[in-house]
């Protein structure tokens, strides 16, 4: 790290802008007025009494529900003995979202998401062949009035559908092998979604739709012009749509509170016809692994650099010499961004 730059930034970057007194006064006055309205609502006394009774009853249940509201990691720990999955939700691999939407008498909260290759075994697989490249999301569903959700054994138990919706794909058939595992705890229904790793669609954008089971095609609409999925305004039952912050999920670095000073670059030259002068066998296999993981590779007889971001967090740059057809491959550890071919 350049200490000079670091010191310069620390010295020069100070909060220089001061809000006007008038602006601060406006904020305080507005809050005072809101507090005043809350103390003296302009309602008839009988209505006030009814509302107060309702608020007291609902308030106590809401507090109860709020107190037992769990973190995504705690939900996972209850649902599975998969320790690595629970740990992943507490790690840098997870994004804590905690966004709530109220719909048709329900409050739906997307608690958090986690993706990764090293979360194993997968929740629903009991076989030897475990696909570790998965995305997980935890959603909490509760009644907006705070009354408890029916338990899984209750005859009134409700099933919900969590649907990953990828922009640009009309879909609902391709559910990306999504499966949902429910848990009802202290009156709140939690749903743990497991599906194919959604990070590959980070550039397109992905939303998570929550609806009653079997209603996903009615609850959400696909806009072919923009390629986005939206709530169907004509649908009056429970529907929630959350945009997933996928581009922000990345494999974490070390716990040190300092940005990495340098990136490690490995350089190999490989003849486009296949021979390689990789220095060691482990280098060769590492390169091969990265090539196989690349989302797209185009060996063009040009001298343009071609950059591919593979499913690992490395940037793989190919530059091809026109005459010799030698392809130089450089691998830079980096966060995944949009892949581009020049």
């Amino acid at each position: 790290m350049d200490d000079k730059l670091n010191n310069l930034l620390r010295e020069k970057l100070k909060p220089d802008f001061v809000p006007e007194d008038e602006l601060n006064s406006k904020i305080i006055d507005q809050v005072k007025e809101e507090h005043l309205n809350m103390k003296h609502p302009k309602f008839k006394s009988s209505v006030v009494a009814a509302i107060m009774v309702g608020v007291l009853a609902i308030g106590s249940i809401s507090v109860y529900a709020t107190y037992h509201f769990q973190s995504a990691s705690q939900v996972v720990k209850k649902l599975t003995i998969n320790k690595s999955l629970a740990d992943a939700f507490e790690s840098d691999q997870a994004v804590s979202v905690n966004e709530s939407q109220t719909t048709a008498g329900y409050k739906v909260t997307l608690m958090g998401i986690a993706s990764g290759k090293d979360i194993e075994p997968s929740l629903s697989s009991a076989t030897e062949d475990i696909d570790t490249s998965k995305t997980y999301a935890v959603v909490a569903i509760e009644y907006a009035d705070g009354s408890p959700m029916p338990d899984t054994k209750d005859k009134n138990y409700q099933t919900f559908c969590l649907t990953p919706l990828v922009n640009g794909k009309e879909v609902v058939d391709d559910t990306l092998y999504a499966s949902v595992t429910p848990l009802v705890e202290d009156g709140i229904q939690y749903e743990l979604l497991e599906c194919d790793n959604l990070e590959q669609y980070a550039d397109e954008g992905v939303s998570l739709g929550v609806s009653a089971f079997g209603k996903e095609t009615e609850a959400f609409q696909y806009d072919a012009k923009t390629g986005t999925h939206n709530l169907n305004s004509n649908y009056k039952e429970m529907q929630a749509l959350f945009e997933l912050p996928l581009s922000d999920i990345a494999t974490g670095n070390s716990s040190s509170d300092v940005a990495p000073e340098s990136t490690e670059v490995t350089t190999e030259t490989q003849n486009i016809n296949g021979s390689s002068n990789a220095k060691t066998d482990s280098d060769k296999s590492k390169l091969k692994e990265k090539e196989e993981q690349s989302t797209s590779v185009n060996y063009e007889a040009s001298d343009a650099d071609i950059v591919v971001y593979d499913s690992d967090d490395a940037e793989v740059k190919y530059s091809v010499d026109k005459d010799s057809k030698d392809c130089t491959i450089r691998v830079y550890p980096a966060n995944k961004n949009a892949s581009s071919n020049k």
Partner: protein
């Protein structure tokens, strides 16, 4: 939140929050609105503001979320009606960019630095603002932006690399 607590929050953190809003929006009117909305939103979240270890980072996270929602809605409107002339934010940013820097009553050196920072893509600029101007830690920044700490470190690193290139020769060697 009581009025007294609100006044205290404004006294302690108003300058930090307002500066952040100015650098996010690059427009005084939008910054004023964002600043106001941030505190109004904060007054609704009584328990969180009491029990947060760092009220400043909590207020910054509210400002950031409100700003993100605003830009997302604007991008959506722009996408479906690009032919309309009231493009609002982008025009005001372009028009007031010069005005924005004129607010910085600072020496030339500082202005050059700020201009370089404002040339950074937003994904890099915001972590730089939070780390150096607001003096938050990487983990606090991660909470504000709702991204993993690793991503914060990576963006800080890339931002510094870009600034080094832009500022070399001007500030140092």
């Amino acid at each position: 939140m009581t009025i007294h607590e609100l006044e205290l929050c404004i006294a302690l953190y108003g300058k930090d929050i307002y500066s952040f809003c100015m650098h996010l929006t690059k427009d005084k009117h939008q910054a004023d609105d964002l600043y106001q909305d941030t505190f109004l939103e904060a007054t609704k979240k009584i328990k969180q503001i009491h029990y947060e270890n760092n009220p400043k980072s909590y207020l910054l996270s509210i400002a950031f979320k409100l700003w993100k929602n605003h830009t997302r809605k604007f991008a959506w409107r722009h996408r479906i009606a690009p032919q309309t002339s009231n493009l609002g934010a982008s025009e005001s940013v372009a028009d007031t960019r010069n005005d924005f820097f004129s607010y910085l009553e600072a020496e030339e050196e500082k202005k050059q630095l700020w201009e370089a920072i404002h040339r950074l893509p937003e994904n890099y600029r915001i972590p730089i603002l939070l780390y150096y101007m607001e003096e938050l830690s990487v983990s606090e920044i991660a909470k504000v932006l709702m991204i993993p700490s690793g991503t914060v470190k990576s963006r800080l690193h890339k931002a510094r690399k870009q600034l080094e290139k832009e500022l070399e020769g001007y500030f140092y060697g």
